[in-house]
Symmetry: C2
Amino acid sequence: VSSEQRARSPGAGDGHSSAPVVAVDCNGADLGPAEVAAGAHIAAQQGARVILFGPEDELGAPGDGIDVVHAPLSIAKSSDPARAVRANPEASIVQAARAVAQDQAQALVCAGGTGAALAAGLFNIKRTRGVYRPALALPLPVPGHPVTLLDVGANVEVRREHLVQFAFMGAALVRTVFGVSRPRVALLSNGAEAVRGSLLVVEAHGELRRQAAAGLDAFEFVGNVEGDGLVAGAADVVVTDGFTGNVALKLMEGTSQRVLSAVRDAAMSTPRAKLGGALLRPALRGFRGQVDPERQGGAYLLGLRRLGVVPHGRFTRAGFAQAILRAQRGAREDIVGQTQRALRQAGALREAPMSAQVASLPERE
Amino acid sequence: VSSEQRARSPGAGDGHSSAPVVAVDCNGADLGPAEVAAGAHIAAQQGARVILFGPEDELGAPGDGIDVVHAPLSIAKSSDPARAVRANPEASIVQAARAVAQDQAQALVCAGGTGAALAAGLFNIKRTRGVYRPALALPLPVPGHPVTLLDVGANVEVRREHLVQFAFMGAALVRTVFGVSRPRVALLSNGAEAVRGSLLVVEAHGELRRQAAAGLDAFEFVGNVEGDGLVAGAADVVVTDGFTGNVALKLMEGTSQRVLSAVRDAAMSTPRAKLGGALLRPALRGFRGQVDPERQGGAYLLGLRRLGVVPHGRFTRAGFAQAILRAQRGAREDIVGQTQRALRQAGALREAPMSAQVASLPERE
């Protein structure tokens, strides 16, 4: 596969040659692989170089900056992604991850399940040296107060040292991608005081306090934030375990939708309200655009040797195009290298041999 | 104190005598003890019998159905409520809890900190026999889909058997208070499938499945719900640990507020939108009323030998009045007894001696 793909590597001599290549698994999207491919074409028009993995007949022809690898087998819906990745080396996500591991591409985008992306990434791209666990970091579309939450679902059970590393990983992402020079980092908890929280959070708080007291350049540790602080601009990066982060993310989306639909219902309840709703609608459109999750392109999969981006499966082509452009930009700006340098400077890298890390891959994700 | 209070017990011969008495700690409210007392007077006009504990000069005179005990010492803001309760037997919340323990009152309302209410309740009113841990259950004001979430902050660290009991406690509350004959109970998790979630959630899921298979009368176990399911009417009762529950609750409040304020901002952005906002406002008022947290009166403190209700410290008199009326109604309808009967029928009561339970009181809450 390697030599064949290298021969077909996109963009040779087409003016895109300086840009990193993004390997895209097209399987698993709600609207089908063709929608992901359509997103890739939008991204390619803006300079992206892409290799698409999926069923050839649905992906369309290769084009300027776009190559296609026929990989019809999808494991996006597998209930045991780690096992599915091991058992199916020809699955689209596995081939895409392998292309990144073999440096045919420099970043991974997975339109299917997070679990499959994580497992395929761990087995093929592998962890960054010294990183305990990859994490999913999602820039939340809070108007006026962008905040990046991690982990939003890669690690259901974590230890203190994982949360501490997540702080560095999130800070490096926000510094690189959003240009915040010294991000404010907080821990999500059930109270603002240092003694509040689960044992895990209290311990991580203590460790981050110690790091901060010892002179922390990578970010400013602002302590704990509560649930409302997450959406109130109290921090640029909010760190939590993947269980709480996933619940929080979906609750936020669900609550926003319910409130907006209640406003819509109110605007249908009387003739007077109907007129009001019609007049207000154009102004609300701007707000809807600001909170549109497709604008960010999805979550960043951090902690592997190459960057991953995981758009939501329900995205349209616009969201998939964003995901590809984000992945390309993140690879060009070397988020992975920036993160590792910050971890090394703070002495927060793991010392154990890599073999032990592969063995610790969780069964269930 | 006991005999003196008994002599002054409110409502003797005033027509209120059949109603349970509610002991109210007035310290700790954002608007001060006088606001809580004002709420008590509203509740008394609707038949409540109340003993107020707080600074006498701020509580006003006793009246029809209302007695006053001078208890100026507040421990509502203590960072270590368990220690504060032990060290301050004259604190208002401790006196209020003692009044309930001595049956001068049949329910407790605490306007101050949850931690102080929990600690004072545990030391004085004590756990219901066979209940591992008290829990805070909050009826969430989701329009069209009322749902009760527990625990929202009493237990930061829990075990499987605690979550299982919370399911029974929440179901008994919802059946009694909201008249749902067989409540649908779910576990909050990061995925709908039984294998998704923290180890804790997966274990509790298995145990509740086993109970359901063995024929469960108290409720219907509907499995896991994710964050968005919490606000989508997927269950009548949603069970989680106090860390996740507290984060979820505050995030939901914060997100609602941010979306509504964005709508308000949009309605100020152009002359056309301003007119639209003005026309829509009356229709939105109904929605605001539906989601007003004061309407429910606050969270129920379940698992003690008497019922507690914990309104939010920022409530106005209307919310405190609701809290008192809810406590009175819950005492009359014997939520505590209903819960214990359901737990006993399911074999979910704890077998260990009570002394071990008192010893397990967490230091930090």
